[in-house]
């Protein structure tokens, strides 16, 4: 058929800004910058069916607070190819989420409110390979990655192994158990080219075991995750709870409340990063979403607490 397609192509525009008590006017978050980009998602088939899926999602980002030479960057978010070995087994290679936590279940790629992954691992995606399989009642993921995050680099024997076992996608109540272990590089920023800022050339030994769940209940989506483990010699624990609500009579709107806390050293007091967030989003159309979020730090380990108000214009479409 002339109008059938085996790929999807989207354009993306993200405009974000707001006010931070600590930093004044801001134009980005840890994960989001003012950016323009695209996503190309494709299926490859033979006469016998699909055998390969690819996804490339790239953003060109601009940070107005930097000198022009440092202000522009290329962020490669998704860049993977997944080969379907058979009905129950797939092999993926490229840049994708580690097999850990809520990030595997929800798409927080464009949202202001994020999961625990930045606290747990330090980045949302990494370069490597993944085996994904299905058994009768659950799915499993095992990933081996570089431990470097957005940029491709390997220093000080960095690596990350992660695994998750969870209920199949799309159930009203989904949950999963995850584990990870690795020598992870500590980086700052989402840039792939030029390489993002390396905070230390020494890796951090990270080990975690985690539990995540998501429950679609009437007009609510309830999300939760927790993870316990070590960062080098410190025992750490993190948890997140979030409630999203879509009013039945105004389905363009969504209200979100989230509390997340990450304790950096269980052996000492007041070592947590704890933030309470309230978000509001309005779908102007299928392609355009307006968001606002208020985020208040209850505590920040080794840092000044902050209170931020952000607004976002997000376009993902034609």
């Amino acid at each position: 058929m002339a109008f059938a397609s085996d790929f999807l192509f989207y354009k993306e525009l993200n405009l974000i800004g707001g006010y931070s008590r600590k930093n004044g006017w801001v134009g980005k978050t840890q994960e989001l910058s003012n950016s323009a980009g695209f996503e190309h998602y494709a299926k490859f088939s033979s006469d016998y069916g699909d055998y390969l899926t690819t996804d490339l999602q790239v953003r060109g980002a601009y940070d107005a607070n930097q000198r022009f030479s440092d202000a522009v960057s290329c962020e490669i978010h998704n860049a993977w190819a997944e080969y379907r070995v058979n009905n129950g087994l797939k092999i993926k290679g490229g840049h994708f989420e580690p097999a850990f936590g809520l990030e595997q279940v929800i798409d927080a790629h464009s949202t202001i409110l994020q999961t625990l992954v930045m606290e747990d691992i330090g980045y949302t995606k990494d370069w490597g390979v993944e085996l994904r399989g299905s058994l009768s009642g659950f799915d499993y993921w095992v990933a081996l990655q570089l431990g470097s995050g957005m940029s491709i680099r390997r220093i000080d024997s960095s690596y990350l192994v992660s695994a998750r076992v969870g209920t199949p996608a799309g159930r009203e109540f989904q949950y999963g158990i995850s584990a990870l272990c690795g020598n992870v590089l500590d980086t700052e920023g989402m840039s792939t080219f030029p390489k993002n800022h390396l905070l230390s050339d020494k890796v951090i030994l990270k080990e975690r075991i985690g539990f995540d769940c998501l429950y679609n209940w009437n007009s609510f989506v309830l999300k939760g995750e927790t993870a316990f483990g070590v960062n080098d010699n410190s025992n750490v624990i993190g948890y997140l709870v979030e409630t999203d609500y879509t009013p039945p009579r105004a389905q363009n709107w969504e209200f979100e409340t989230q509390f997340q806390s990450f304790v950096n050293d269980l052996g000492s007091s007041r070592t947590d990063n704890s933030t309470l967030s309230v978000g509001l989003s309005y779908k102007l159309s299928q392609a355009i979403t307006l968001r606002a979020a208020f985020m208040h730090d209850l505590n920040q380990y080794h840092q000044e607490r902050d209170t931020e108000f952000l607004v976002q214009f997000y376009y993902y479409g034609k």
Binding site: S5, F38, G49, A169, P194, S285, G317
Partner: protein, 210 residues
């Protein structure tokens, strides 16, 4: 040297990204894909050996004119949030070897409490052989998911939905399983009809007059 190369690559990329906003891309909002196609298809078609995924939009297939035709057949207008012209619909052509043994396809439908995702599996002629909700936000969701209700759709065709007003017809025979959420029942009937109309439009190419 490396920095220079990176700067050039970056400049080209940013230029392409910005310029691409003036081009006509094929798709916009996220459509109703199967969350778990391998598992779902195997369950409905245990004899299948594979499936092919294709994407369609009303925009690409006929634009505003086609939208009007579909609305006429549906006897209702499209919801701008859930049913924009450029929303891609995913169609799974189910194969046994190289032979087509059926189709699986889903639609988003506005319900009382949020999106309802209605998935149909049909034989190659468009007769329903399986019906299920991939998502339904309703206090009585479990009643809508009862097999005794979803099985009522098995065997129905688009022709049955075109005659849904007939009190003696097969569609009129399907009773609302809920007590207080008749709106979600009506949305289910509308979504199923829309699903079959789009299958006919995109795949079966029936184009039969109503």
């Amino acid at each position: 040297m490396e920095n220079k190369t990176q700067t050039v690559i970056l400049a080209i990329f940013v230029a392409v990204s910005i310029l691409s906003f003036g081009c006509g891309a094929a798709f916009a909002a996220v459509g109703c894909e199967l969350n778990d196609p391998d598992r779902d298809i195997q369950k409905i078609f245990p004899q299948s050996t594979g499936y092919k995924t294709s994407y369609f939009t009303i925009q690409e297939a006929g634009g505003e004119k086609l939208k009007k035709e579909v609305e006429e057949k549906l006897k209702d207008v499209f919801d701008p949030l859930y049913e924009s012209l450029d929303v891609p619909y995913s169609y799974y052509t189910i194969l046994k070897g190289k032979d087509v043994i059926g189709y699986v396809h889903g639609v988003n439908q506005k319900g009382i409490y949020g999106a309802i995702q209605i998935i149909l599996a049909t034989d190659p002629e468009g007769k329903i052989i399986a019906f299920y909700y991939q998502k339904i936000s309703s206090p009585e969701a479990s009643k809508f998911r009862y097999k005794s209700f979803t099985d009522k759709f098995i065997g129905l065709t688009l022709a049955d939905f075109y005659h849904s007003d007939n009190p003696a017809g097969k569609v009129a025979d399907i009773k609302d399983p809920s007590e207080k959420n008749h709106g979600d029942f009506k949305a289910t009937i509308r979504g199923t009809k829309k699903n079959l109309i789009l299958l006919d439009t995109f795949i079966l190419k029936g184009g039969k007059s109503i």
